[in-house]
């Protein structure tokens, strides 16, 4: 509120810079009511392609729009469709990847929960374009609301004759089955996802053959991510030029990011491709809270990398992020401040991929484990300088040799933190010290005896009784200060929380 005028939500700094295409209807319509979707021009794009366009026209629009896969790899969507159309087969499949699994990412979930029809409509459009009558949505079982709303949407669309046989009376048939993922991150990889739909253990398959030739059930198939689908009806309705006018030369349109971490305004932000990271952090996100300093932003989740403050003006698009060793990924964007240890961050993401490795190929199954063991050594003060070399060596080896995208990108968080924060690794090894005071074995708590008034709040709240009174009474104080026995301390941080006098710090 300024000058007694309430600012419209759209005019707040959080929304003003955003450009909502994929999220157009999210939060605007009732996702469980098809009429509201129809009122927003829903299913008009499908009507347009079925009545006015040939499959080749549709593919040409997709190619011209420059839309690239929003799941992370950025493959041109139109090209994917073109390949799949080129193969003759009695049955082809259109698949939707809704197995969103990056820690902290919830773009796809929001679309599925907020605008499920847009995905269905887009998949039907693709079905028409490539010559498929059957779609599959592979959605993680941890998204029960999304599953429920997808089912409602499917049901309503069928009742309205917008799905099923002879859609819009054009003779085109299309329907969708929903498959629930059992919580394996690797099932977001296209061939693993298809293997899982087929009822097998979700493991990637070697390519070629690519899914466009032999995908689901060995038939030509396309797989697009939820956010990619969410762009398509509007591209059809507004034209390729409209879409390609947004974004950069090679990265067209917008991208949704799940902004989180050490940032004032968290949430989903959809920005034109090429928007500088600094704009997202400072203007949309409102900067880093608590007067802390921005240290890095992590994009692309466990497959991505960390962008240091020196690159804060990087343009957020496929090419520029890749240039500095990160990736767009599916859109996780985690902001970190000076309290984040970059070695610990690398360990966090590698623990995730190591856990989520399917175990099929040697580099990923054993390599990520060995990398993690080295990181464990470094963060517990047992690392050597050779460990950094070994880590880099293994990282490049895994990138080169792993079977699928999960393994090939698993070392990215490690490589990018070594690249930009090598000094932190070296501090862990040479000084046995964690500069951000995160790695428990590499810092300790210290009491400033001159600030301590001897209230013993900390002492009484210390679980292992590591805090005791001293004989020292600082000038102006009445009670003796306390001290911490580091052999007993478990680094739980309870003392710092209890101290009202800023007398305890991590060193």
């Amino acid at each position: 509120m300024t000058d007694n005028i309430i600012t419209s939500l759209a005019d707040t700094s959080f929304y003003k810079i955003q450009r909502r295409i994929a999220l157009k209807n999210c939060g605007v319509i009732d996702p469980e009511n098809i009429d509201e979707y129809l009122a927003m021009d829903g299913y008009m794009a499908l009507h347009k392609v079925l009545t006015e366009m040939t499959p080749d026209d549709v593919i040409q629009v997709m190619l011209d729009s420059g839309l690239r896969g929003r799941g992370g790899a950025g493959f041109p969507t139109g090209l994917k469709w073109k390949f799949a159309k080129g193969y003759d087969a009695p049955q082809k499949y259109v698949c939707c990847n809704a197995d969103e699994g990056d820690p902290g990412a919830f773009m796809d979930r929001s679309v599925l929960e907020g605008d499920p029809h847009v995905v269905l409509e887009a998949m039907a459009i693709a079905g028409y374009a490539i010559g498929s009558s059957q779609g599959y949505i592979y959605v993680r079982a941890e998204y029960p609301v999304a599953v429920k709303r997808l089912n409602i949407a499917l049901q309503q669309a069928r009742e309205y004759g917008l799905f099923g046989k002879n859609i819009y009376g054009t003779g085109f048939d299309f329907d969708i089955d929903i498959r629930l993922g059992a919580g394996a991150f690797v099932c977001g990889e296209e061939t693993a996802l298809m293997t899982s739909i087929e009822g097998n253990r979700g493991e990637p398959r070697p390519r070629p053959p690519f899914p466009a030739e032999k995908g689901l059930f060995q038939s030509p198939s396309i797989l697009n991510n939820v956010e990619t689908w969410a762009n398509i009806p509007q591209i059809i309705l507004n034209g390729a030029d409209w879409f390609s006018s947004v974004g950069t030369e090679k990265s067209k349109g917008t991208k949704v990011f799940a902004l989180g971490g050490k940032i004032r305004h968290t949430g989903l932000v959809e920005i034109p491709m090429g928007t500088p990271l600094s704009t997202v952090i400072d203007e949309i996100g409102g900067g880093v809270p608590n007067g802390k300093k921005f240290k890095a932003a992590q994009t692309g989740g466990p497959s991505g990398g960390c962008i240091p403050a020196s690159h804060i003006n990087v343009q957020m698009d496929y090419e520029h992020l890749a240039e500095i060793g990160s990736i767009m990924g599916s859109g996780g964007l985690i902001v970190m401040d000076e309290d984040n240890c970059m070695v610990d961050i690398a360990k966090f993401f590698l623990t995730f991929t190591c856990d989520e490795s399917c175990g099929k190929c040697t580099p990923c199954r054993i390599g990520t484990k060995r990398m993690l063991e080295i990181l464990d050594r470094i963060t517990s003060g047992k690392g050597t300088m050779e460990d950094i070399d070994k880590l880099e060596d293994l990282a490049y080896y895994i990138k080169d040799n792993a079977l699928c995208g999960l393994g090939q990108t698993a070392p990215n968080p490690v490589l990018s933190t070594i690249r930009f924060f090598r000094d932190e690794y070296e501090a862990h090894i040479n000084d046995r010290h964690c500069p951000a005071a995160v790695c428990k074995e590499l810092f300790h708590y210290v009491v400033d005896p001159d600030k301590c008034i001897g209230c013993t709040q900390c002492l009484r709240n210390c679980p292992p009784f590591a805090i005791t009174k001293t004989d020292y009474i600082a000038e102006g104080h009445k009670l003796p200060s306390v001290k911490i026995d580091n052999d007993k301390c478990i680094k739980c941080g309870a003392c710092i929380e209890k101290c009202k006098f800023d007398a305890i710090s991590k060193q």
Binding site: R201, T362, I366, R370, E373, D400, N401, A402, L403
Partner: protein
Amino acid sequence: MDTITLKIDGIEVTVPKGSTVLEAAHAAAVKIPTLCFLKEINEIGACRMCLVEIKGSPKLAAACVFPAADGMEVFTSTPRILANRKKTLELILSNHRKECLSCVRSGNCELQKLCREYGIEDENYYAGANPEFRIDDSAAHMVRDNSKCILCRRCVAACTVSQGIGCIGANERGFDTNIGSVFDLPLAETSCIHCGQCITACPVGAIYEKDSVDDVFAAIHDPSKHVLVQVAPAVRAGLAEEFGKPVGTDAQGKMAAAMRRLGFDKVFDTLFSADLTIMEEATEFLDRVKNGGTLPLITSCSPGWIKFCETYYPDMIPNLSTCKSPQGMFGAVAKSYYAEKEGIDPKDIVMVSIMPCTAKKFEYQRPEMNVNGLRDNDYVLTTREFGRMIKLAGLDWDMLPEEDFDLPLGLGTGAAVIFGATGGVMEAALRTAVEVLTGEELPNVDFEDVRGLKDIRTATYEVAGLTVRVAVTSGLANARKLLDMVKAGELEVDFIEVMACPGGCVNGGGQPQVHASVRNFVDIRAERAKVLYALDQGNAIRKSHENPAIKEIYETYLGEPGSHLAHKLLHTEYTPRKINGNWD
């Protein structure tokens, strides 16, 4: 045939369209190392040993599955590739129990061989934590020790793709991934049919047969025991490989000499009881045809197939021949007919059976497999164990002479020796059945239609006014196809031969393990089968009913085929089983 021309390490090579880079390299005399790849069985590109560089592609390609293309330029041993392979091996070693000296596969281990070739200097370079596994030795025939498993999945593919069973698979994920049984049951409680195809697929020492070598040596050296040995047809087509000879070497004569030198009291041959099987089975078949018995009749020589049928097709148990397998018949005859003839107390006879098969270790322990309260057989050794015994006894394979078997139970025909190849039992049965039906001598005893390696082979013969429709298959995935066709009425046949192992006993689970680097380019089934067909050709007697020893046993002891005594000694019964215990 369409061909493509490409360059492998600068060498131009022309190969059929559809070839993989691995095959093109082979044609260019370039060896690309593999661990997980088994042609047509396990094409999953998992181990990453075979990665190669392809000009113009930043990504490496798995040669085993990557399609070769016209004009492609492949580099198989650049510094980048060699360094990568070395690391792959070092990582595998970091998660492998490296007790090579005491490993059953030492000297014949694909991992060990590659480590030598790639000059691994520090086997502990990536040493780290390793999961602990319990050893599964629950099954009758084998032991699984996952501390040596390299997760190539070849065993899983053999079980699933070749055999259509899938009682083993990957459990857990990531670093904790391990190969285990369904529901993590002990293997003995699953529907494992003991075929041992997983063992012959394993590149390392993670799966191996239960070893009875010591027990057999002890029996041989027990003066109170009369120790007999029988050896199956297919063993002679594989055993020489244990001594470094090429696949397809005939070992029959040396094998007999080796058994004699090991100290067996009599060196007999399962060929004898194979001929006996034909007498009984051909009689059973003609009886069923003439008297309206259950048809099609299905052979019962393969114990893996029998357990498979009992488990997955229990409704077809009435179709199974009631004949014991040749192994079972041999033991029963040895402990009755032979014991009486020689005046030996059957209790003092120790019957040792050398088989290309691990399921025989299960079969001989089946309660039905006995004669007058005694086990038909007392020990079953695989071809591999037999090879180890010969080495243990210090016999010099190259110096061994060629010898014959002992009479009378060492006498067998050409019809019996081809039992070891898929289609052989059918062919042997046809040779006898046709002559019995027509009463005339066959002008040509070669029934070529039932030979070969086609998944399912069928033939129809008009014999003395009778139409006999036969079908032959091997590998249980193929058996499934065949049985489903029969059950659906899509295929009408009177007589079916099924062998559990693809290609029949020559490729049995007890045969020597052949490295994938050979197996992927040489069809070991065909090469070993050639040995048997040559022995058949070279045998003066090629029809079971013309075996003098067979004639004698019927004349002096059994009476006629299918007699009461024959039934008591030579026939058996079957038990329906549940799939994976109680989980069906």
